[in-house]
Symmetry: C2
Subunit: 221 residues, 2 copies
């Protein structure tokens, strides 16, 4: 297995923290990013307590991204465009994995927001054309990520992107989370479907009082 | 199990024919609808040959819909609005299950079309406010539906709708297809996510040369 240097931008949020924990637990080197380096270090410390031999630390988003091979965007959609723009220099040339879910909530439940650029992943690609954008890890629940299970092997990670080699990195990074390769779901544009699918899972969760996940059937073993 | 009188509008298309076969095979009474009653009768005959004790026949779309408890819309998105408008009288008061997938295809693969009303299911609901619209059965592959397997039990049927009783009918109708209840995915608006998700499955199929399906993990047994 290739070991990556991963920066998780938004690494103190529930999704970012959970993914960082999974990658640290399974041998990758992770730097959590936050606007506040102190908060990132505190979350890194929480992970280090759970995974004693973890290579995990905290820094500002910019410092975290600057030192990584792979930058994971695990930030809320609100403020996403400004954040990506501010990190343009650090993201250029990197594999950038967007896990961003542009969702709204009202009395009918969760729904996919209208994203002017089609999806958050495509928007990031347009804002930083030199970044190698991939969409992935939208659907895994933050609570399950942070839990004790060795792997979330009842779920699949769907991956999309236009840069085949960058997409392959995300496909490999899925192994630390679900115990198997991510599923290649096609071009970056498919992020328009992957991102708001999270609304379906949240809606199912509400009705069944569970944490649902998505599994793709019919794939080769 | 409640036995329903089901009209499948667009019943000679691959998706409609496959669903009709599943319902006829598992004890429902099915009338296939088509613009051409003769073609509907020919497809009904094909199903009858495979399911000797099936209650299956063919008629025009309007005649099929007029006599049914449940009307399934298994038509292409192209022409959908005109067809639904033309059947307004027959759909009024009925449980109407939309399986319509508004998809486009170009060199980047399949993609969800921009639907002015949000989704095909919501558009039908707006066109015929007296119909009890449900969205369901978007993702099951036509080829698998028409195959020999007793049930497509590696897949889930996701169901959405604002009319709770109508939604329950579609949840029950899933049993004949996947051997278990459909998954309640929330309000009709969730059709905006369910319909274009089919683009993801088609994209996965292309890459893995398979017929993929969607399974929801974490549901109560």
């Amino acid at each position: 297995m290739t070991t990556y240097d991963i920066a998780v931008v938004g690494g103190t949020g529930p999704q970012g923290r959970g993914l960082a924990y999974r990658w640290a637990r399974h041998g990758h080197r992770v730097v959590l990013g936050s606007r506040d380096a102190g908060r990132a270090q505190a979350t890194a410390q929480e992970i280090a307590e759970r995974v004693p031999d973890a290579a995990v630390s905290g820094a500002t988003n910019a410092d975290a991204a600057a030192g990584a091979d792979v930058v994971v965007l695990a930030v809320p959609y609100d403020g996403h465009d400004e954040l990506v723009t501010s990190l343009a220099e650090q993201l250029a040339g990197k594999v950038v994995v967007s896990c961003v879910n542009p969702l709204g909530f009202d009395k009918r439940g969760p729904y996919g927001l209208d994203v002017p650029g089609g999806s958050a992943a495509e928007t990031a690609a347009a804002l930083v054309p030199e970044a190698r954008l991939v969409g992935a890890f939208h659907h895994v629940s933050a609570v399950t990520l942070w839990g004790e299970e060795e792997y979330l092997d009842h779920e699949d990670v769907l991956v999309c992107g236009d840069d085949v080699d960058a997409k392959q990195v995300a496909i490999e990074l899925a192994r630390a989370v679900v115990s198997r390769d991510g599923v290649d779901a096609g071009k970056l544009r498919i992020a328009r479907q992957l991102e708001p699918w999270t609304a379906v899972l949240i809606s199912v969760n509400k009705r069944y009082k569970t944490r649902s996940g998505t599994r793709i059937s019919g794939l080769p073993e």
